[in-house]
Amino acid sequence: MLGFPVLTALIVLPAIGAALVVAIPRTRPEIVKVVALAVSVAVLVLACYGLYEFATGTAGFQFVSRHVWIKQWGISWHLGIDGISLFLVVLTALLFPFALAGSDAHHDVKAYTAWMLVLEAGCLGVFLALDLFLFFVFWEIVLVPMYFLIGGWGYEGRVYAALKFFIYTMTGSALMLVGILALVFIHAGHTGHLTFDLQTLAREQSFSGSTARWLFAAFAVSFAIKVPIFPLHTWLPDAHTEAPTAGSVILAGVLLKLGTYGFLRFGLYLFPKVSHDLAPLLLTLGVVGIIYGAIVAAVQRDLKRLIAYSSVAHLGFIILGTFALTTQGVQGGIIQMVNHGLSTGALFLLVGMIYERRHTREIADLGGLQKVAPVFAGVFMLVMLSSVGLPGLNGFVGEFLVLIGTFISRRWWAVVAATGVILAAVYLLWAYQRVFHGVPEGENLKFPELRWREGAVLAPVLALIVFLGVYPKPVLDRMEPSVRTLVERVDRQAGTHQPSVAQGGHR
Amino acid sequence: MLLNQFLFLAAVLFCIGVYGVLARRNAVLVLASIELMLNAVNINLVAFGAYRHNIAGQVFALFVITIAAAEVGVGLAIVVLIFRNRASIALDDADLMKG
């Protein structure tokens, strides 16, 4: 380590890139894309450098960078990375060049690209922040570029979808801000010093049981909206369907992970006891999400909307794994976050390509594409099977770990959730069958094959899908110590009151 | 000292003033009602000053009289402006803006 502030650079670089893009004259849109790609690839390289330098086998935060920001309030620019956030950072850094290269804005390329880069800075900030204030700032900042991306470059219902997205998420974060402040001031009341530092607040747990419950609720509602967990999910199909292709890729691939990551980093870490007590509720909601998402997805006529609902189901699995509160479950949850980012991101990109070729997303209008575009169909098949959770591909690893983890601690939830796996196979395969099988007619006869450039963009993601499915060990090894520490912490805090249940979690 | 009577008188005058402002349509009468309110307060101030054997109340009343004069000056100027434009000083006519 050369003392180079890798994490700060990860956030600052895209922000500078956005400024650069704004500075490029309007008449030269072709440079914009080059600059944006260069910047986002540089970020990816940095993230990979972090992955390479990351010390496997340690649980604590690494690459920590800390500078005082607002002294009197105990707010600092505090960044760090551990096994939980590492892969989400890499995923984010990977998906942005993927989304930028894979789709083009139809107008005003400059503003579009600038917003994308701001969004990247914000997302990375959320994953890296170890200061509650900093976290909240990034959390809110993410809303603005996403709002503009959906509202400015989306499809017909874009303005409505953008507004719904913004209002929903902002309601959640409004509550979270009150929660953060309450947490900080209760802590200040007990210890006499004001600090927003996550580690300090988690270490010096200075709130009673019922207070903790309220605080957890304030955080949880915000995260639950972002994930989204079942009753709060209604913004998601609209936002996903109306967003431009790159927006959908990032929304599904990265933004939804902010919520699940929030649960791990802030829910479980700050409120271990409450997380344990409320786990049944969240597990139930997770399972309901899995089943509900699958059923609703099955009846969709719009391909993009179908994938959006499949996200609800997949995110249900992640919640299930997280609140199983076992090492396997949480690990499965994290790896499932990465998987969902890869496979759903790629699916949205493919649907975007279909839309560009055919100008429709209606399943009924498509059909027989396999005949005219076999390579395209093959790629779609592979990504879809990854989403279904076919053994040998990455989706299987995640779902398997989640189910095992849940089965250890909460048997019945795991059993019900397992039916979701079958349902996923049903609706995705059925959709595939309707779109790609059969005899092509009319417009579908002229469906162009996958281009080389598109293939080149998709190739790294496809490679990762296979690699993670065959050999997930390097990933699991790196996240295991952090996850185990977190789970043990939850067990210890909860175990003092309910030893019998907590022991069920150990194996 | 008979403080309560003065306070009562002031309160009644003030209320008449409030009624005038709320109920009258004629701008000049509204101005007069505002004057009435201010002078009701002056009665209060002077009465309290006398009750407390304290000169501040009377001094305050003088300030209020001065300011009230300035205020009415501006008020009448505005009324004149409106009258020039519309040949009416009914306040209800001034209702272009709604929402």
Partner: protein, 506 residues
């Protein structure tokens, strides 16, 4: 002044108090500067270089910063004090409000220049009235005597009534003037009644004496509480808190837009300065009596302001309702009656002054000659006509929404944290919900500017006329945007300023 006069026995020569001029320096410079400009304007009626008067106003305002800094350092080394026979107080709080008002005057004066030229209203009067009005506001902030508070309030208000009606030939402006005048004078009378009752029950108009009296005597009659209520009514009108807000939309909409900008920033700052000093400092011992009232006002302002703003179609009117909601946030800080609450309220007023003057500056430019059209349609497609203007307006709107990395977010953060610290959780949550409702209409405006679909059949096409941006307005916008963003990124120094701007302990 009054205390000294009150001790005079008949027959004795009058002892005039020592006047420490520098303590009323900022207000004094504004007042004298205004008078000088008024005279100069009479003699230099014609043929003055462009921008002379607005430039002079800016110079006067910046000059007033000098005594303010001087006093700030004095307070930092020697502590807060009262002066001129205890009639005024010199503390960090008053200096802070002075700085807020000075900033607002600088921006409004720069904005006014191009506006007056566009409307053919050139002359000194607008600036002079602005300076007088601002001096009244400063006097309110440093008043330590109810008489001085009242004087300051009237100086502020009377000049504002005239500013509201400055566009003599436009009916909207006249209407705004008469409405503002009638309701303003009406509320002044309530305020005065409140003063009389407080004076009657405590025997003094001096805030220090009143505070002492209240600390040593516990009053149980309704006189004092009635006084509190009437004072809140009177000042509630000035700061546009619900239910005393009825005048706000009409007056904001009808007044010349630069006057609206000035009014929104300065009248609110001055009104809250008086409220905070009177209640948090002087009536502190009775805070359990007045806190519930302020709590209710805060909730009503937040919700009514935000909800009614959503249904507006005129941008000026919408900003008026949003300013009511902003008053609600300041009330949230006020309600806590704590140091953090006061500092939060101050920071909010400071940040708000820049946001609102900036917003109205954009409206001034867009609404065109005669302030004719500030409807949502006038803003349609602004991003393609004037991308920079649309972008700047977007920053102000996002700041008002409370998006991080703008001063608006930190302002909300500050007052909400004060509320949380004071365990007013319900209020904090209501305030955040109001912020979400408010986001709805700020975003609607952004949508209109950026995402407007081509006009459907039967609809009016988006306006295409070029929008000229005067130099002064450009400078004003630059200052406002600069402050909003820089403080949004690096708030530490302004946080410190607000934190040290404490009220003199009485």
């Amino acid at each position: 002044m009054i205390a000294a006069v009150a001790q005079v026995q008949p027959g004795q020569p009058l002892q005039l108090p020592h006047v420490d001029w520098v303590t009323i320096g900022p207000a004094g410079i504004f007042f004298v500067g205004g008078l000088a400009m008024l005279l100069a304007g009479v003699f230099l009626r014609r043929r003055v270089p462009r921008g002379l008067w607005s430039g002079t106003t800016v110079v006067i305002a910046v000059l007033a910063l000098w005594p303010a800094f001087h006093l700030w350092h004095q307070i930092a080394s020697g502590g807060a004090r009262t002066a001129i026979a205890d009639a005024v107080v010199v503390d960090g709080f008053s200096i802070f409000i002075d700085v807020v008002i000075i900033s607002a005057v600088v921006m409004a004066a720069l904005l006014t220049d191009g506006y007056l030229r566009r409307e053919n209203l050139e002359g000194t009067e607008f600036y002079v009235l602005m300076l007088f009005s601002a001096s009244g506001g400063m006097l309110m902030a440093s008043a330590n005597d109810l008489i001085v508070v009242f004087l300051g309030l009237e100086i502020l208000s009377i000049a504002l009534y005239t500013l509201a009606g400055f566009q003599q030939r436009r009916e909207g402006s006249q209407e705004a003037a008469i409405k503002y005048f009638v309701l303003g004078a009406f509320s002044s009378a309530f305020f005065l009644y409140g003063i009389a009752l407080v004076y009657g029950s405590t025997g003094s108009t001096n805030l220090g004496v009143i505070a002492d009296f209240l600390r040593t005597n516990s009053l149980t009659n309704g006189l004092l509480l009635g006084g509190f209520a009437l004072l809140i009514v009177g000042l509630g009108f000035k700061v546009a808190a619900v239910p005393f807000h009825m005048w706000t939309p009409d007056v904001y909409q009808g007044s010349p837009t630069p006057a609206t900008a000035f009014m929104a920033a300065v009248a609110k700052a001055a009104g809250f300065a008086a409220l905070l000093r009177l209640f948090v400092s002087t009536f502190n011992t009775y805070r359990l009596d007045w806190q519930p009232i302020v709590w209710a006002l805060a909730v009503l302002s937040l919700l009514v302001g935000s909800v009614l703003a959503v249904v507006q179609t005129d941008v000026k009117r919408m900003l008026a309702y949003s300013s009511i909601a902003h008053a609600g946030y300041v009330l949230v800080g006020f309600q806590t009656a704590s140091n953090r609450g006061v500092a939060g309220a101050l920071f909010y007023l400071f940040a708000y002054a820049f946001m609102i003057v900036g917003s109205f500056a954009v409206v001034t430019l867009v609404s065109g000659r005669g302030d004719t059209d500030a409807s949502l349609d006038a803003f349609r497609g602004l991003s393609s006509r004037r991308p920079a203007l649309a972008f700047v307006f977007t920053i102000f709107l996002l700041a008002q929404t409370g998006v991080p990395l703008t001063s608006g977010f930190l302002a909300k953060f500050y007052v909400i944290s004060a509320a949380v610290e004071a365990h007013s959780y319900a209020l904090a949550i209501i305030a955040m919900i109001a912020a979400v409702i408010a986001a709805f209409f700020y975003l609607r405006l952004i949508v209109v500017m950026y995402m407007a679909a081509p006009a459907a059949e039967g609809e009016e096409a988006a306006p295409t006329a070029r929008i000229p941006i005067a130099v002064g307005a450009g400078m004003s916008l630059t200052i406002a945007v600069g402050f909003t963003l820089v403080v949004g990124f690096l708030p530490a120094s302004v946080f410190d300023f607000a934190r040290h701007a404490t009220l003199l302990k009485l």
